[in-house]
Subunit: 565 residues, 2 copies
Amino acid sequence: MESKLRVVIIGGVACGPKTAARLRRLHPNAEITMVERDAIVSYGACGLPYYVEGLFSSINTLIETPVGVARTPAFFDKAKGFKVLTRTEAVKVDRDNQKVDIRNLETNETGSLPYDKLVLATGGLAFHPPIPGIDLKNVWFMTHPNHAESLVKEIQDKGFKTAAMVGAGFIGIEMAEALTHRGLSVHLIEMADQIMPGVLDHDIATFASKHLKQKGVKLVLGERVTGILGDTQASGVQTNQQNIDAEAVIIAVGTRPNDSLARDAGLECMARGGIVVNSYCQTSDPNIYAGGDCAVNTYIDRLIGNPMYVPLGSTANKHGRIIANHIAGNAVPFGGITGTGIVKAFDFNISRTGMSERQAIDLNLDYETTYWSGPDRPHYMPGSKPLLIKMIACKKTRKLLGIQAAGMGDVARRIDTAAAVIRFGGTLDELADIDFAYAPPFSPPIDPLATCAHIMLNKLDGIANGISAYKAKERIENDDVVLLDVRTPGEIETMQLPYPCTHIPLGALREKAETLPKDKDILAFCKVSMRGYEAQRILNAKGFDRVYFIEGGIIGWPFEVKMLK
Amino acid sequence: MESKLRVVIIGGVACGPKTAARLRRLHPNAEITMVERDAIVSYGACGLPYYVEGLFSSINTLIETPVGVARTPAFFDKAKGFKVLTRTEAVKVDRDNQKVDIRNLETNETGSLPYDKLVLATGGLAFHPPIPGIDLKNVWFMTHPNHAESLVKEIQDKGFKTAAMVGAGFIGIEMAEALTHRGLSVHLIEMADQIMPGVLDHDIATFASKHLKQKGVKLVLGERVTGILGDTQASGVQTNQQNIDAEAVIIAVGTRPNDSLARDAGLECMARGGIVVNSYCQTSDPNIYAGGDCAVNTYIDRLIGNPMYVPLGSTANKHGRIIANHIAGNAVPFGGITGTGIVKAFDFNISRTGMSERQAIDLNLDYETTYWSGPDRPHYMPGSKPLLIKMIACKKTRKLLGIQAAGMGDVARRIDTAAAVIRFGGTLDELADIDFAYAPPFSPPIDPLATCAHIMLNKLDGIANGISAYKAKERIENDDVVLLDVRTPGEIETMQLPYPCTHIPLGALREKAETLPKDKDILAFCKVSMRGYEAQRILNAKGFDRVYFIEGGIIGWPFEVKMLK
């Protein structure tokens, strides 16, 4: 009888169970053991904010299968066919003897698990900032079902009315919404001067922030939390500028790769954290794999040279499949990530994929940006919702580098399509050619993503002379420019930019062009910027060569606008 | 002074105005004249069913810009900068003298327009079947705002209660929904034995048909309409099998390219209709372009050799841009289409892109199919909606060939992403690698499209032994097979396949496997097919080699199921 392949998996949330289940299907005779410190495994960690929001009433929903079966060790044994040891800590990886030393956290019993292949799926650790009061009662880190459950219980039992959410990343925003829906008044505090730093560029972040504020979230940007107030339980947070009262304090200021086991075993890790793996998720020891939030990833086209740390449940699942395939003798390389991220924030969907402008600058790329704003369906369809897209492209290759999108409209669809284009190294022309699904309930005849690519091509070809809202604001406030509003009188009565404007509806511009100066920069705009662009072309044709249009128009203006009706 | 480039455009609905507007922006000095038979131009023809449905109350909405400006010749002159001649027929193209003979349909005045470049955007013509009664009152073709307006007026004035919709293509389905919402009882009659023939494969069409029937549409498949009943006004339709009463008869049995002007001018056209163009939309006369519904298209990767006739507003707009670019000296080739189509049918979204299985068969490709069904978000998220995806891939190259999707879930997102993958000739592994936007409000951690690719890869690798619902039904009804339901008892109480089944929940299968026969084919299934697949692997490991799982499970079963609760 041939000896069985012994596979030990450390970590039981996402990558671990995925690896084990897939490997079992591929390799009926492998001896698969999954070790997990916690009492529960394979839970939907991404669902915690939605439990807090009250979208489902039992925290067990996150631990059960879709048909309500609890994912217990017995379930994995019977349904999935592998062994799960919960409340069991992997203490040390002994590479020389190919075994993992373990300890039962209930009984303190120790032992060891020999392996032929070892999978590290140890996940991430919420960063605990070294500030006074961090261990007070009523301070939560939202990384475990227990945290969400106790937070909801306290809110219900104590009738909390205020919360401070520290960190405006994905979890911070999801929690700000969840707590607001629960009836709490929420301060969302972020050290950076924008929400979602490192994910969104400042302009898109500013645009999205408007919505959070409209929904009642008290946004505190550019302030560092220096301590948690309170004696035994939190009563608020102290920043470098103010004290903020809060009965509940939730901290989500980033995740760090839990790579200590790998480090101790001498496996290659990044200095800043994260286990280094190849395309098959093998570590520097080919018998040891790593996947999920403990590992770093490679950008899909290697344009970004340094490994990236982007912990995500979707990537963790991909890793699990890659690892199981490779152990089973089916080597399929993982292509890498494009840094996609998405978050729902009240009625807004906010997302990005590929490179941000910030990254393009850091990489010293010769890039161009552009913006598109507008409704996601033809104007005559009810239920049409606006969105703003920012696009970044390489000037030389005309390839799409990245997009960011925010708004009530269908963002996910455009992000996935853009992620696919970036996956294949597609150019803007190729993107615009895609046979997008078109019917009025779904999109305008030219998909917003394609239109945005068209604007970018027009800029690269020197036809469209767009200026971003940020640069426009700077010019308006510092220079003697003409701000030309080409909307209809009816539109102007409803919404305006908060600056003096010259009003000439587009239809009258050919006649009235002479009333404009040729020796000043003219910044044309409309609701979304299509007519602004047309105004630029009309004036160009009449010999004006200092005309720009404000990309994204009023709808995409990230700062405050004057709402008149 | 240099002589101006004279550009004449025939046709003013989609491709025509797009060409003219773009060309004006690129070429400030060109003399652009657009000629249109009709009194109105540049209307949202795709919006007609939604007007009938009552989603907006004035038909003029379709003729106005998003800010309510009527798209009249004066509007085009002032805002867009080109000349529009309405109620003007292009009688003949005189290629030798580079002029178009025109006639004013109001005054009968004739004249001619000299051109340097001519653009044919003459659109499509609704096919008028040669049957008795086709010209009766209360028979509508839904191709013009006047048709929609008079239909609604008649419904309101006469209080119509019944309608017969002839043709179950895109417009037929949209109109069936629109009229049902208006309170009419609708017969939807289709000559083929499925809805959307030529677009969907029979199985996906059958799956989608269930929803139409649930919504009260009386589907009549496989019957040919042989005449319209009634003396002066329609009272119903006669098929080759029955008479169906109807106060309103709407006919949408296909569009034919309006290519007569091109044919008469000796330009190359397909025998079955449609002007032949190159990648720049040039006809066989390089000074004459054609775009929109009068032209044929090429499939994106030339896998489908014959030009395809797929009239769509989105493609017409792409053509307009390609033509304007080329006339302006900026040659950007059009990559081609992938045959994408989408329709909303009540709560269902139904769509396809790329090749159908039918086309793969006709092309003699060595292909494989698979199916995925399930909710479009994690099970714990409320608002999650089911969908069914069918995927077609090339066995040899492992490239994605096409997908079809139907259901309440987010179909458009997956179709666009698949269209992008097909655009770039992507393989299934590359598809699965895409960094899809993941957060619980948007999708499961592994996107349905990626999971479907995984299943396909498992099939190609000989790991997954899937059988389609169609083949399963045939086997169940004709052969002595074991139908193995591996769901939980609770699930079985709510919904069942209408056949005797052996019930063994997946968790008990390892123990109870011996109760199953090894000398019969076993067809395992569950709700969506994941556990069915796991059952197959479990039984394989126990020496059963005649096990299949039914792809798509009960959720994806296209035929009737027993609903028990």
